[in-house]
Amino acid sequence: MGRKLLFDKAHIEGIRYYDVYRANGGYGSAEKALKSMSPEQVLDEVKKSGLRGRGGAGFPTGMKWSFIAKPEGVPRYLVCNADESEPGTFKDRYLMEFIPHLLIEGLLISSYTLGCNSCYIYIRGEYAWIPDILEEAIADAKKNGWLGKNIQGTGFDLEIYVQRGAGAYICGEETALIESLEGKRGNPRIKPPFPAVKGLWDCPTVVNNVETLATVVPILRIGGEEYAKYGTGKSTGTKLISACGNINKPGVYEIEMNISVEEFIYSDEYCGGIPNGKRLKACIPGGSSVPILPANLLLKTAKGEPRMMTYESLSDGGFATGTMLGSGGFIVLDEDQCIVKNTLTFARFYHHESCGQCSPCREGTGWMKRVLLNIENGKGKMSDIDLLWDIQRKIEGNTICPLGDAAAWPVAAAIRHFRDEFEWHVLHPEEATKRNYGLAHYADPLEIAAPAAV
């Protein structure tokens, strides 16, 4: 069994409620931080832990916190990004639904470190029942002196509020989230200025993902140095992976970042393999926006080494032969799946979710969707494949926010690795509506270039 830090007590009956959570050591880390440590010391522990943002970008959390501006007399805000909307990702939902106090404790420690007295949890609107769970937990925490004025006699004040979104993927982008929290359209802001200087209501603001903030709790419990011993290299600690698609046991798993992708897919502890004896065709390991990889490149890197579930190993080989850990939305495709159809659904998703503020994303996402729809429906042309490549190339990097990149990458990777499947769709339009291209050669062993003789 892999070691767990977030879900170590998840199996305990009633851990959702304050009494059980507290009885099992809950709020111990908060007590330690508030009563015996200065904010600088807490920040130091987080820095030592090597914790990286769990929302997708993987930016070091300690560094992000140290950027926050501290002008006199201006309030600072901590915003918890619970707008989990990346297709394939549903880990934060599990955390909030079943262990809400872990998040609240994390928010308390983080707010103390950053010097915030108000904290907002921005949760996606569709998770309509979760605010009730969170608000109940907040009320219980308050009743027991963990929120409100003069927390546990330390003189520190904190209020946590839950704000529901209303259906917009773009609000997962931190500046769009801030705009939405201010009661506006979720249009990402043009940076700089960054939220650390001018964020919510123009005050210094830190926006962190749910899992990131919850992870602060075990870091304080075992210490930053000890936390850094978990995992591999710069991928320290554990990561929540939400696994879905064609696997036997979809769900949310906490993994220590030292297992291989193969183990994650096939071991009974995690995904439990692929149903009905089907074979693995492809996988999108970090949420819909990261590049899709064919089975052979997924399990082994281009160098022939086994691919591990870490930030570094998954991105080994760059976009040419690698992908990203992203948000940990692990989508598995078996041999019966059609790459063109899958790419089309993602293109449709990004088209639907584009805010429409900047022209490459507003116009380009719809164009890609329509071209893909033509190919899928047997009306594609060979030149459409190159056209798609060119459209994504002109969106990537040229937009205000990363949604443009997120829309471009899945299309680029699908063409890069599965071009023959696209061509087959174009050349056999009739057949393509009846059957699919199948596994083809996507699981064949890789040809590894022999190391040059010395």
């Binding site: 909307s85 297709p87 394939g88 549903f90 309509a128 529901r164 209303a166 698609g245 999108i284 799946q337």
Partner: protein, 161 residues
């Protein structure tokens, strides 16, 4: 238009933000209004929300038209919002959508003649591991099969009577 109780709720929401930042309450109040006034936002409702928050009506329209959860046209009593993005598609959401269409004899975006059901397709709702799924009111219905869809339709019908 809001009851005393709802007005208090609005006040409570506004109190979450610093003074003068009551515009932040817009999305939560629109949710409240949509629940209260028949599941959709008429222009009168939006104007009312604008007056409650002391902002210009256009600021409300801008926001209400941006977010996909706000209905700007009347919808059925029960709205089936079936997810169709990648992970759900891999698990057969297309078949579920087809089944509902046939069963209720409506196409996507339409409401049944009795005004009970509306079928919508939506993009990823964050329940990929429990696919195929749909949102029905406040809750998710997951691991859908044709049998489950039948049961849900029956459940709604009996509740409506």
């Amino acid at each position: 238009m809001f009851s005393e109780e709802k007005l208090n709720k609005v006040k409570e929401i506004i109190a979450r933000y610093p003074a003068g930042k009551q515009k932040s309450a817009l999305i939560p109040v629109l949710h409240l209004a949509q629940e209260e006034f028949g599941g959709w936002l008429s222009s009168e409702t939006m104007d009312y929300v604008a007056s409650l928050l002391q902002i210009k009506p256009i600021e409300v329209y801008e926001v209400a038209t941006f977010y996909s959860m706000f209905n700007l046209k009347p919808v059925g009593k029960y709205v089936f919002e079936v997810c169709q993005t990648g992970p759900c598609m891999l698990r057969g959401s297309d078949n579920i959508i087809d089944y509902i269409k046939k069963k209720l004899d409506i196409s996507v975006g339409e409401t049944t003649k009795d005004g009970l059901f509306t079928l919508k397709t939506v993009e990823c709702l964050g329940a990929c591991g429990y696919a195929p799924m749909m949102q029905l009111g406040k809750h998710y219905r997951e691991h859908l099969t044709p049998e489950k869809v039948d049961a849900i339709i029956e459940e709604c019908r009996s509740k409506a009577n």
